[in-house]
Amino acid sequence: MTNRCPSDLALEQHLLDPAASPLLAHVEVCPLCRHRVARMLRDGEDFRRYVFPGSVERVEAAAARDRRRWLPFVLAPAGAAVAIAAGLLLVARAPPGPPAGYEGGVKGGSMTLAVYTTGDQGVRALADGAAVPAAAALRFKVGARDCAALWLFSVDAAGQVTRLHPAAGDAAPPPAGGELPGGAVLDGQAGPERIYAVCAERPLPWEDVARAAREAAGGGAVRVRAGAALPGLPPGTAQATLLLEKRP
């Protein structure tokens, strides 16, 4: 470590969101820090493969247990606060700083996006932020008005933007009823994956959409979860998004 090399704690902060990290330039040119980061990533992978799967149930159970312990004491105040909380919830679900032309959300506006998977209890629609098996099979349904070009794609924590519909060629209007043919199978890697649907009134090149996706959510798990609205799309372009948490 040189005098200018960051501490382990600073590198941990860096790893949470490398693309936005002030340490990125240093890490890229410092062999020692590159080695440290590589070792940290290896240890992180060790956690994801061997620690998380066998212990997440215990952590979840502790959270539920603690919640139950407090429930009798919070019920009464919670009842009184329901009206206020409902208002806050509506505000909290709106994406931060929507650009002009933003109309999306999972529901509402002129565009909707529904994502389905199958499990022990049959087919179910997934809520925003839902946990799914890391290799889950998904189906999609969109609702949009005046849609000449539909793009459906996802962004993961590694910054990978994946086309889901159409898998090749140019975008086209959605089929009648909105249910997209085929589907997608997640890549088996644990972590957040954000699905976006975009509907444009006119042809919209994939490169423009992919660039907007990288700007909005590329560069780490924190950015995927934050799920900023896609910037720079033409006026009149609607968008909707939904977050999935892939579990090992």
């Binding site: 704690l9 940290m40 060790d46 620690v51 644990a190």
Partner: protein, 161 residues
């Protein structure tokens, strides 16, 4: 309650690697680090709201994980299990080589707060200001505890300052 479980799992997935790495660095044993990581999160799920802001969450988790691991090591020493041994110190850390290795060898003799400062400065090579922020104490407190630790450590091993 399902929401609480999801939040806990999400926090564990996001910050678990950092806590695991911290525990691994201090305990130098993968099995012990795995157990310690779980224990830290089982304790922390009561305060999930603190994990919503990454800028606050990470230093807090780091502090809790450090204290937990140092306690584990100290307790293991008291039970007569394998002693702490020499912690892997950051190469090039600012304090001199003898001070850093002094820290590693006599750490278990000090209280939790002093240990955290000694590890932060002498083992991790953190600056006083950064460590103060991470531990939630003032820079003066960092300096005071460090001076106390070094004086005590030298006395323990009979080294002149």
């Amino acid at each position: 309650m399902a929401r609480e479980r999801e939040r806990a799992a999400e926090a564990y997935r996001t910050y678990g690697p950092a806590v695991y790495r911290r525990c691994l660095r201090l305990m130098r044993d993968r099995e012990a680090a795995r157990d310690a990581t779980q224990e830290v999160f089982v304790k922390l799920v009561r305060e999930l709201s603190k994990l919503e802001d990454a800028a606050v969450a990470l230093p807090w988790l780091y502090r809790v994980a450090t204290n937990h691991c140092l306690n584990q090591l100290r307790n293991a020493g008291r039970r007569g299990e394998e002693p702490v041994g020499e912690l892997e110190v950051a190469s090039g850390a600012q304090p001199s080589f003898p001070d850093r290795h002094l820290a590693a060898s006599v750490l278990a003799r000090f209280d939790e707060g002093t240990q955290a400062v000694a590890v932060g400065v002498l083992v991790d090579g953190m600056g006083h200001e950064e460590l103060a922020g991470a531990l939630g104490i003032s820079r003066k407190t960092v300096e005071r505890r460090l001076a106390r630790f070094l004086a005590g450590a030298r006395a323990l091993v009979g080294v002149q300052p």
